[in-house]
Structure formats: structure tokens, C-alpha cells
């Protein structure tokens, strides 16, 4: 087996938007992202804690889609390892000289086996440090990119591929037959990437980290104030998986973004995976709130190396939405007889 690159973390994503001004209003004016650079056709944005050039690139284009998802690797040598790794898999790869992606050193860009465009980079320009500029914080007060969530027709295949890239497994949704979803990490959090079973390749959402639940609530309040509440697709709530407090929003092109806070440390070498039954109504929302069907079914198409939209393949396994009793088709919650509380822990 070819040695994979040493991936540090999910670092940036690129989205094609059909109106850059509408996207700017959403991401900068409402969500409060920091602008590192902008011109007539693109915006480079970052969170308040981010110390690389950008977490998000928005580009104007004729059709909404997701471009490359960027992983930072440990060193320049890992770029060569990335090229070799994907060439061994028979994937198309490109080397983009430093500066081709603005503010970023050399990039190895690949079409990965799942059909996503992935960037690997080792170095980045450092922007101004704004972590303690509370006077500037607005919107969701996003700190940094946390993770990518991708729709794949075959979740076990995605799990195997990311395992071969050295990702650890933190949590799953499963039953005896099927792996419905999985969360995998390189940095010491619950995930850098997660898989939602569905037609793919598509980008399900980008997850951004905020420091406090307050930021999630306030983001919703602001959207309500401006009659933009329809941007709120699901939540706020507490996830079962990851234990994070979250809300899902949709941008003007329908790209989904999660504001995400309060997950946990996964850096120990024997970190045990947490496996949720697909029948546990708390797995997606720890409070048992129904998951809106659009959350399961809608996602962003992705581009290939030639800039064309990748064709989408239907889901190849049982869909979680048809099994988990958490959709809008579920009966309304009813009072239940009190059960004995769990035994006290030791």
C-alpha cells in the first residue's frame, strides 16, 4: 500500500454561487465571516480564530456547486505522497503552483475515488490574528472550519477509503445490516469528515465551529429579525452523535452550513468509537426533534477537475430516512410512561 499523506485537518472549501452579492450578504453580513480577500468574482473568508488564509472560497458561477474541499497536510513531502497515493488509486491528479489557490502554497488537487475534488496543501499565508478582537465579532462568530459532511451512495466504501487515508472513527449510525453514517477525524475532534448515505457525490454541508451555544441561538435570532428565518433548515438542537449543539442553515444557493459547538476531544490513541443504533431517536437530535426530510435528501452537486458538474449516483444501500423514526412522517411525540432512570455510573 502506498503511504497516504499526513493530513492535519479539514481546512477550506470552495463553493460556486450564482450571485456573489447575495452570497456575500449571507456569509459576511449575516453569518459574520471575516473577509481575507475579495474581488469581482470571488470572496475568501475565514473564521475569527483561523490563522490560515481562508476557510471558504466563494466563486461566482452559472450553477451552484461545491468545488474543492481542502485538507491541510503536515509538510511539503506530504504533497508528493498525496500525488502518489491517488495515482496508485487511478485517480486524476493535478499540481497547482503556489499562489494558484490564493494565499496558499503548492496544491495537489485530485478527483478522489468517491468523486469529490480534494485539495491538499502544506503552507498558507497567515492573516491578521483576530481571536481576541471581540469588538469585531458578528453573526455566528464562527471560529474556524470544523468538518465536511458528504453524501455518498455507499457509506462502507467511504469509510474504507478514509480509513486508508489514516482517519480515525469516532461515531457511527448502524444496525446489524447497514452502516448508515460515520464520523471520522484527523484533528482531535469528533470529525473532519462525515458520510451521509444518499445520492452522491454531493456535499451535504460544511460545519463551522463556534465557541458557545449562545452563537448558535443568536444567529437564529438575527435571521428572524431580518425575516430570513427560512434560511434555518434544522435546529437549533443537541446532536446525539458528537454531542454538539448545532443549527443547519441554507445559503441563497441552497448550500448547507452547520454552526457547531461543544463536541469533544478524540486525541487518545485508543479513542473508542461510539456506535448509535439507527433506531435510537436521539442519534440525530438528542432531544428527539424530527429531522426535516430536505435535510436527508437535498445537497450540493460537486465539480470535477474540468469544472463540470459530476453526475450523481443513487444511493446503493438502505436510506437512513426510511428507517430512523425521525422524519416528518413520524407520529407526533406522545407522553410516555416513566421508565427507571439509568443505573448510577462507576
Amino acid at each position: 500500500m502506498v503511504t497516504p499523506p499526513d493530513i492535519v485537518r479539514a481546512a477550506y472549501a470552495s463553493l460556486v454561487v450564482t450571485s456573489l452579492s447575495a452570497a456575500r450578504h449571507f456569509w459576511v453580513d449575516l453569518l459574520g465571516f471575516v473577509v481575507t480577500y475579495e474581488d469581482a468574482r470571488s470572496l475568501y473568508l475565514r473564521g475569527y480564530d483561523e490563522l490560515t488564509h481562508h476557510n471558504l472560497i466563494l466563486r461566482s458561477g452559472p450553477e451552484a456547486a461545491a468545488g474543492a474541499l481542502g485538507f491541510r497536510v503536515r509538510s511539503g513531502d506530504d504533497l508528493a505522497r498525496a500525488s502518489a497515493f491517488y495515482q496508485a488509486l487511478g485517480c486524476r491528479t493535478e499540481r497547482l503552483p503556489a499562489g494558484t489557490v490564493r494565499g496558499t502554497g503548492e496544491v495537489v488537487r485530485v478527483e478522489d475515488p468517491l468523486g469529490f475534488l480534494i485539495d491538499f496543501f502544506a503552507s498558507s499565508a497567515h492573516p491578521q490574528r483576530l481571536q481576541q478582537r471581540y469588538d469585531l465579532r458578528r453573526g455566528a462568530e464562527v471560529a474556524r472550519l470544523d468538518h465536511f459532511n458528504i453524501c455518498v451512495p455507499d457509506v462502507p466504501a467511504a469509510y474504507s477509503y478514509y480509513s486508508s487515508l489514516g482517519f480515525g472513527l469516532s461515531e457511527t449510525i448502524e444496525d446489524g445490516q447497514t452502516l448508515y453514517a460515520a464520523w471520522m477525524y484527523r484533528k482531535q475532534t469528533v470529525h473532519d469528515v462525515a458520510f451521509t448515505g444518499g445520492a452522491g457525490p454531493r456535499l451535504h454541508h460544511l460545519g463551522f465551529f463556534a465557541h458557545e451555544p449562545h452563537s448558535v441561538l443568536r444567529m437564529c435570532d438575527i435571521l428572524g429579525s431580518l425575516s430570513r428565518q427560512s434560511c434555518i433548515e434544522r435546529g437549533p438542537g443537541r446532536h446525539g452523535v458528537s454531542n454538539a449543539f448545532y443549527v443547519y442553515l441554507r445559503d441563497p444557493d441552497g448550500h448547507r452550513v452547520e454552526i457547531y459547538t461543544s463536541d469533544y476531544y478524540t486525541g487518545d490513541p485508543d479513542h473508542p468509537a461510539l456506535r448509535w443504533s439507527v433506531h435510537d431517536p436521539r442519534r440525530r437530535d438528542f432531544w428527539g426533534n424530527a429531522v426535516i426530510p430536505s435535510w436527508y435528501t437535498q445537497a450540493s452537486v460537486v465539480l470535477d477537475l474540468d469544472g463540470a458538474v459530476r453526475p450523481v449516483t443513487d444511493i446503493a444501500q438502505t436510506a437512513e430516512v426510511t428507517v430512523g423514526a425521525d422524519g416528518f412522517t413520524a407520529p407526533p411525540p406522545a407522553p410516555v410512561p416513566p421508565s427507571a432512570p439509568p443505573a448510577p455510573p462507576r
Copy 2:
């Protein structure tokens, strides 16, 4: 017109529960209410800030129902005014000597024109002050009873009746034809009583005040921890009406309770009412989240002076749930084109 009693605030409610041990587990162990007194057939509970004997009486009985709703009046003279006021309306009234309601002075109990059992009392025993006993706080850390929300077939009739009792109007949901809901207050908050259009008389919910949104979120987390998430009926969320942060729970008998925080001061004599269009999807949830139909349709039956369940009359006006686009029948939220933000204020 007869002078109404000078009502201070919504002070206590009485619920009949079919299992006192199940109710105790819910209200005391999970929600964290303070027990002032208990015996084999009843529980007297209060919030941590409460300085009267109880906010809630739970009584064991064969059928779940709501008993009396208790308003505190300013002085003993107001008890006589209450008797006279309701006798003038042709309502049945009773005088209960001090101690008949435990910990409470003399009570005037009436069957009001809307069909609810109402207690008026002027004096109460003072329990131990626990406001600053943070070491004891558990669950939702409820401070005190905030309001009653009642289902009535004819909202304008309820509005007129409570106006005649000296209640102020803080907010409404309406359109050109119909008053769908109204919020009315005596103490200097958004409400002591609110009306939900529906079959009635029924008790829609009891609202309890907590000091911080954190308590609302934590209550839900605890219910999830114990696999009691089905108790969470709606929320958490931000109300449009009242601006409060809220969650609705259902007790083991289906009685609905709201944990409610962060509404606003209404004590100025010319306090202006805020009128919401029934078509504003933010009126019930400022974030536009769908209202589950059970929230509109289910409620607790109420008792009469003889202890019998009052018959329920169907709604006599257009039901809000059939008009407001916020039920589960609503299309899923879709991204909207950005609109111009509101003009800056002056």
C-alpha cells in the same frame, strides 16, 4: 359595573395526575421543582425564587385534569370584590376558609364565565427563601410560575372578560377578521394569562419562568440523557410573541408545561400592544420552525366546582392552525432570495 378584584399575578395551578409517583419523578426529579409539602395523595411544589407556599399542586385522581388556577390579589378586601364580581356575572362561587388550600389564607373559588375554576387568595405562608441556594438547583431551575395559557372557543370573548378584570394587552395574533390569540398581564411581564383558540375550556399549558436560556437547553439535555426525549413536544426556540426563549414539555399525564425565559417589562401605563399577523411565520417561533399539530390540538380538560370534568365546546372561530403556515403540513423551508434588510432605526 362591579369593581373587579385587584389581581397581582398568576400564582399557582392545580393538576390532577393519575400516578403521583410518576408525576413526582417528572416534576421533582427531572424538572427540579422544590417540594414544599407532600403526602400520599398530593404534592405542593414551588420554584426556587417563589416566596409563597406553592406554584403547583399535584393531586392523585382517576382522570388527568386541571383543577383551579390561582391568582393572588392585593388584599383581603379583594376577596370580597372577587365574590361580588362573579356573583354579578351569575357565576357559582365558594369561600374556602384559610388552610383549605394548604399554606394559603382564605380563598374565593369561582367557576368563571369561560368555564375555568379560578382561585383568588390574598395571603400565603412564606417558605424558606432558596433564591441563592445554587447548590440545590436542578433540572430546569424554575424560578416561579409565570402564566396560564388556556384554550377557549371564542378568543374575543376571553379577551373582553379578562379586560373587565383589569388585565392589560401585550400581544395578539390576528388578521382583519379574527383575533386568534392574545396575551394579557397584571404583573409587569408579557402575560399572566394567554388564550389559544380551540375547543374549551381546557388548559393549554402552565408557563414557568427560568432565569437563563441555559436552563431550557439543559432541561432538554437531561431528558435526552434519560431517554425521556419524547416529553419534549415543541422547541426549544425563540417565540415571536413575547420574545421569550422556550420549550414545551408534556408530563406523564400529558399536561403541558413551558419553560420560559427572557420576556420583557410591560409596566408602563401606556404600554403598546404588539400585533402579529397570523400569516407571519415568526409569530409562534421567531426562527420559523414548524409548530407540531399536537401543540394546537391537545390540552388538559378542566374540573368544575363539583370536581367533575367540564364538557368541552368546539372552537367557534377559524382555527389558527388552519391559517398560519407553520404546521407540519407546511412545505419544507426553501432558500429565499435575499431581501433588502430593514432600514436602520431611529
Copy 3:
């Protein structure tokens, strides 16, 4: 005895500042107050929940001082009662026609027996309602004026005078000999006015209400971000008295402002006063943090009806700062042997 006016609440204050631009930067840009009106010599500010014209008037002048403290009264008849009440006390009074105080109906302005300039008004222009404009909130996200805290040489005299005005007593600091401080209310909160023993008449601070502790913390974070941390005089902390979460700031002229949240309801007719021993180190800060001496000794001088600074009289009783073991002269906290916890409540 002459009938006092029916006071609704502490409503506005007027401060003379030596640089209106520096004051604007502090109150508007940093603290986030809403500007209702401004011109070259004055600023009219309000909190986000306020539905009268202003909570704070800042006027440019040669010497920093506090002008009138404004109480709203229930009706126009109370203006006549106010005039009569103070004339009976031998105080100077004035009637200012509607509009003399901008946005405000007729005002009765008096020099009260304690030496403060007090405005009484019954009506006000209603500004735009901004309660739910979360998109506009900045700084401390102040909702409304909560209270005045005044320095008086004789606390019992101040207590008697405000009692005669119909104020209720919520809390005190005292010992067998001396009443060191008292908190008194008209609206249903802990106070509209409080007395700090000291040279007077001086304005100790203006207290503004915020909805969440988060706002207190964030205000401090913003001041630190801008290297304006020296504006933070004391706190953040939890008060023993009032149980509120607080911070004290000083404006560029040294006027003190408190951001204050989470006190409690006091509207019941028999609301019991809470009496703190001056020897309880938790009375001023429930966490036992030392009170900086400047907080006890510094305050704003006040103006008389002629616009002149009132001479200040020394404290006429034992000063709390010399008794309470909570100044900077206190020994540093030391570990204590564990004591038995308080008995469980009933």
C-alpha cells in the same frame, strides 16, 4: 401627609459630559446604546427594549456632573401631586412644558430633600420598537434603565424619604447600629433606587438591565479587545444583594454605569425584605471578591435647579468600607476548613 405621586419606575437620567464625542464613543460605539436623537450638544439614548424616548441624556458641559434623574408617573394627575408633595416639603419645584425635555410631556422638576434633581413625567414619545432587532444589537445589549444608585450621607434619612414616596424595601445591609445601604423599588424588580452611604448628594451609578449574563461578559471582552479595560472598575460578579450578575464601568468622565441582569420579581404585596449583615463578605459580591476602594469613595457630583454643582456633605454615619471586610485592605482569601452544608430546605 400629602399624597405622593404614583411613581411607575426609574426611567431616565441626565449626565453632563466634558467631551460629547468621547462620551458618544463610550456609550454608543462601545456599550451599544441606541441613539434616539443627537445634535451638537446632546445625545438622547435608549436601550433596545425601551419604549419611551430615552433612558439617558448626555449633555456637553464644562464639568462632569449628574443632572436630573427621571421617574415616570402613572398619569398627568401625578404631576400635580408631585408638585404639591415637594412644595409641602419646602423644596424648590419647576414645571417644564411638554417638549422642554425632548420627546417628553410636561415635567415637574424638583430639588429633593436629599439634594438631587428629580424629574417626574407622565408621557413620552414612543420610538421605534427594537426589541427583536437582534441584527442591531451591539456591546452590552442594554434593554432599559433599571435603577439609580445614589450616595447619601444619611442612609436612614434617604430610606424614610423614599418610603414616604411609596417605595418598597427589597434588601438592606446593616448591623445592630447602622443601616449602611438599602434597595427600594416601585416597579416589580429589586430596585428603582438604592442608597450607598457616603459624601452626598452624589450619583453613585446608573444601572442598566441586560437580558443575559453573556452580555456582561461580552462587554468586558470588547473593552479588553480595544485596550479599554481600565473602564472596568469592578466585576464581573454575582451580587449577594439582588442576586444580579453585574459589572461596573466608568465612562470617560468617570460616571459609573452598571450592567445588571437576573434579579428577581418583587411585586407581591407582602414581599419580604432581605437583610444582609455588613459582616457577610458575600453581600456585595456573592463570590467574596474584594470591592475596590474607588467603588466606595468615587461618585458623580450633581446639579441643582440653577445648573450649579451642589456642595457635598460628608458621610454622617459609619462608612461600610471601614466595616465590611471586602476592601483591598482585606487579607487574601485563604482555604477554609469545610463546613457542614446548610440543611436541606422545605
Copy 4:
């Protein structure tokens, strides 16, 4: 140079306490630590997120002291590396068979060059997962051990030694001449270890991570409720260094503990160190609150391999407390003229 062990993170600490029952009351009843194991002479405690056997061992003994500080290493091979590394430095080392430290695999215990007892271990028993047992959370709701802060007479020597162990540098306090303090990490947070210049070797404090500022505030509220406020030595506040929200407590033996939340990700390979001037009054408290002198001067003595208290050597460099203008000797904060805000960022 000998290869250092691959250290994963600060994992546990051991403290000798003079009364195990008093310590249990403080750490378990008040702070809410989870008991993994206890017997008559020892307590093994962990935070709610911890998935190894313990974060803290309390042992009964005649004199309060700190025992071993435990670092988890990546694999069993790292234990051999640890032995070799310290033997090459001429340090005493021991190998403790699995189970010698309860719930823990083989341990290499060393007397490190700074005079501290350090444990290295690779494997641990997994206790019950309590991350989502919100029903059990009490006190400070501590998630896990975050860091050790140690007093050393020579901060540059400590920095060099921990650099040789592969720790990264996140922040410093310094001036042209002197390195006063430094923060260093292995896991992807601001630190696993930090150095406070002072007589040493002594343990300055143990830092435990909580998920929300609320937990810090609530811990203080609980201590005030029980008249245990003298346990609160410093804070709550926002650190300049680390940006964390914090409070320092002292246990019944004077051992110092920090409740710490909201620091930031440091996992990027080129993570830039943040260097604070010792003259910046925000470095220790971002809000400029004075640091109480005991915080600079008091700390816990440490044991050697024979169980004897290590002699303490005086500080060998300028003490920060004599330079930084943040002690109780500082003049009280005074209003400052407004300065221009920082330029907007890019």
C-alpha cells in the same frame, strides 16, 4: 540526542491531601468530579468526558503535596523511550508494573530535570462513558484534565527541557530581557504544561476543562451558596493568554485548581506563538482585573521518588509580580481618555 517519548497529553495528577473526607467534599460534592474508585485512603476521580480511568488521584497523607503528574504516551514503545530519555539526562527512573497505578498499564515514573515526578503510561482501563449523562452533571461539570501549571525558578530552562520533549510553544509573557512564563502543548489546545516563574519545583495549579463559561459562573455561585466563597482565589475572568474563561479555586489543603474553558485549536504544524509583553495589563486578565498576590506566590510542594518533599529553590530571574502592573499594589483603575480603535482588519 535521545528520541523523546511521543507524549499525547496531560492525563492525570496525584495530590496528597491531609483530610480525604474534606477533599472528597470539595472535589466530588462541590466541584462534581466523577468517582471511578475509592477506598479509605484514596480517591480516583475523572471528568464527565474522560475515557481513561482517572484525571486525579487524591491520597491521604500527613502533609499536603503534589505527587506524580501523568502524561499519556502513544504506545508501549514510548515507555522504553521515556526511560532511555531520562536515563540519558541522569534522572532517576522507575518502571511500575501494570496496575501499580490503579486502572493504568505499565508506568515509567521519573524525577525530571525540573524536580517534578512525572508518570508516563500508554494504556488505561476505560470507565463508563458519561459524556451525555447530563442528568448526572454537578458543580463545575468538568470534562477532563487540561493542563499542569508548574512553578520553576528558571523559565527558559523549563522551556528548553519541554521543547526537547517535543512540546510546541503557544504563548509567552516576556520582555527584552526575560521570559516570565510560557505555555506549551502536545494535544491541539493551548497547553498541556505551563511555567510560572517562582520558587520551585512546585505545582502552581491543575487546569480542568469545562465546556461552557456557564460552568465557571455556576461553580462560584454554588460556593457562595454554601459560604465557601473563600475557596475562590482569583476570577472568574477572561485570560489574555489562551483567551480562556477561567476561575482559580483552592482546595482545603490549598492545592489550586483552575476551571478553564474556550481556548483554541493549535494543531497546525506552523502554529504561530503569541508573545505578550509583561507590561500588558491584559496578559493575565484580559479585563485588567488585578491578580491577587497569593496567586503569584503560593503553590503546592512536590514529592520525589522516595515520597519525600522536594526542597524548593528560589526564583532565579526577575519575578513577574514585581514587573507586571497587575497586583494589589497597583493604583485603582482610572478612566482613560478614549483612544482611537484599532484599524479594521483584513
